[in-house]
């Protein structure tokens, strides 16, 4: 599992991963404010609610041991007067391009809640981006603890407001209006959508709709009329009355919360795969046999961390989570993943749903491709068990991935267990996908499949699903668990 590269944008400090630990360096001149913020009621309450990452200041002896490590990034060594904090590790990092819109909305809510609560104690949120947030299961956690600084009480302006609009409101708006996915937005843009970009999408009348006016059209018109060299715009506009400045900021946060709620994704979104559980090709006994097979494997082997690849609406992800596993469920359909996130949240399941197409998994992003490691870099060896249920035919037929490649990927991701469903070419869904190309897959049967598995996995058990051309396999990684 490859960790992200050390962070570098914030002059107040940076974060890095070292030997499985998450460490934050805080520069000497930012340290008093950082420690003061950690003592606020806001930080303590959100940490107790597990919505703000916990932080522990390291002792001098611990820091000396760290400095001796050749792996320690240079910026940690460069400023000896600072301090180092250790954060709790979030089990699996899912990044904004992999979130369904529902998760971006939840991350936005948490960002605003924290900004409003910190304001009451004299602190301001200095950046408002979804990259400040990771999800522990389905719950957002604010991980960029250094994002708060003591604010000037007379300042009525929230400088990151434009960033909040760019990275939360406009992506949600573009998704709602034009179906733009978060992967479309965040894979190529770290800082979201500019109002000017969205303005170009708008029709003539759309530009005058109230929400568009406030978030898109007026900022675009104002920026066109203003010289970017006008330094006056960026001068602090301090007020004589701090109570008035705070009133203005509270009002801004309320307006942004209302805008965010108005853009909350609808609960019942339909897509090609959202009705799969109601329309799949199993009859009841076959589905019950499949469910029992998976449940028995989970009971017997008790994998602590499970990846459900091609999770659809997450029926089996939920089964694994209910059996006590920490589950990451991936599917290419954002509507299915969004519905699964709602379910996981309602049922308090330890389940992180992500929009990932296994045939084109999320690439490494950011500066030198180091800020967000690729999905496979994060997933490699990160799971005790992998579920690949009703998936193999999509990869074989639609994506034209060879069977050996699919099994090799599973071998690289799982530390021990693979539960996989073989779908034979005679299956109705398989035939639907082949669209006349049946001959390409004519050789696929249980014998061929078991031979293909042999270099990577041992067969623990298998079960033919009654009345279908499908077979369930429980496989164990060869070479022992890693």
């Amino acid at each position: 599992m490859r960790p992200p590269a050390p962070s570098f944008r914030d002059p107040a400090g940076g974060c890095c991963s070292l030997d499985g630990r998450v460490l934050r360096f805080v520069a000497a001149d930012a340290l008093p404010e950082f420690e003061a913020f950690l003592q606020t009621r806001c930080a303590r309450e959100f940490t107790a609610r597990r919505q703000f990452v916990s932080a522990r200041r390291l002792e001098e002896a611990e820091i000396a041991a760290l400095r001796a490590s050749p792996e320690l990034p240079p910026q940690f060594k460069a400023q000896p007067a600072g301090a180092v904090f250790e954060h709790e590790r979030i089990p699996f990092a899912g990044y904004p391009p992999e979130w369904p819109p529902e998760m971006l909305w939840a991350a936005g809510r948490l960002t605003l809640e924290l900004a409003r609560t910190a304001l009451a104690e004299g602190f301001g949120l200095k950046d408002a981006t979804p990259h400040n947030i990771l999800f522990r299961g389905s719950e957002p956690v604010f991980v960029d603890a250094l994002s708060f600084e003591r604010r000037n009480p007379a300042d009525p302006i929230w400088l990151p407001e434009a960033q909040f609009v760019r990275t939360f409101l406009l992506p949600l708006l573009a998704h709602r209006r034009w179906g733009l996915s978060l992967a479309d937005v965040f894979t190529t843009r770290r800082d979201g959508l500019e109002p000017e970009e969205v303005y170009r999408f708008c029709g003539p009348l759309e530009k005058f709709q109230p929400r568009m006016l406030s978030l898109v059209s007026i900022p675009t018109w104002l920026s066109r009329k203003t010289s970017p060299d006008d330094r006056k715009i960026y001068r602090p506009q301090l007020l004589a009355d701090p109570e008035k400045a705070r009133f203005i900021l509270e009002s801004l946060f309320q307006r942004r919360a209302r805008a965010l709620d108005a853009l909350q994704p609808a609960a019942q979104r339909n897509s090609v795969w959202s009705d799969y559980m109601a329309t799949h090709s199993y009859d009841d006994p076959a589905f019950a046999a499949k469910e029992n097979f998976v449940a028995e494997v989970l009971r017997e082997f008790r994998p602590a961390r499970v990846l459900d690849a091609g999770a659809n609406t997450g029926h089996f992800s939920a089964l694994a989570a209910q059996a006590g596993a920490a589950v990451v469920a991936v599917d290419l359909d954002a509507a299915c993943v969004g519905a699964l996130w709602r379910r996981a949240r309602e049922q308090k399941l330890n389940l992180l749903p992500l929009v990932v197409n296994l045939a084109r998994p999320s690439p490494a992003l950011g500066w030198r491709n180091g800020e967000c490691p690729s999905f496979l870099d994060r997933a490699g060896g990160a799971f005790d068990g992998v579920l690949m249920l009703a998936l193999i035919h999509h990869l074989l037929v639609t994506e034209r991935i060879p069977l050996d490649e699919i099994l090799r990927l599973a071998y690289e991701v799982t530390r021990s267990l693979l539960v996989i469903e073989l779908v034979e070419p005679q299956d109705a869904m398989f035939r639907r996908l082949t669209r006349g190309r049946e001959s390409l897959h004519a050789a696929l049967d249980t014998n061929m499949f078991e031979q293909a598995c042999a270099p990577y996995f041992e067969i623990v058990r298998s079960l033919a699903l009654p009345g279908t051309r499908r077979r369930m396999y429980c496989l164990k990684r060869k070479g022992g668990a890693r």
Partner: protein, 71 residues
Amino acid sequence: MKFFAYVDPGLGALIWQSAVAGVVGFLFYLKKSRRWIVNTFRKMLGRGPKPSVSAAKVAAAEKAEAESHAR
């Protein structure tokens, strides 16, 4: 005090925020004047001044925290 804010504040968005802040600032004075009038009448009727909403919120949060520590 050294500030570390490093994000791009935008151009049109920042001007728009400043303009709206001006309007909201005017509302603040309206609200303050209303509170002054209400409090003047309350004093005349022999009641104490009405606490502001934010002060009431802080007091409630402090009370809740004190109770949770007591438990």
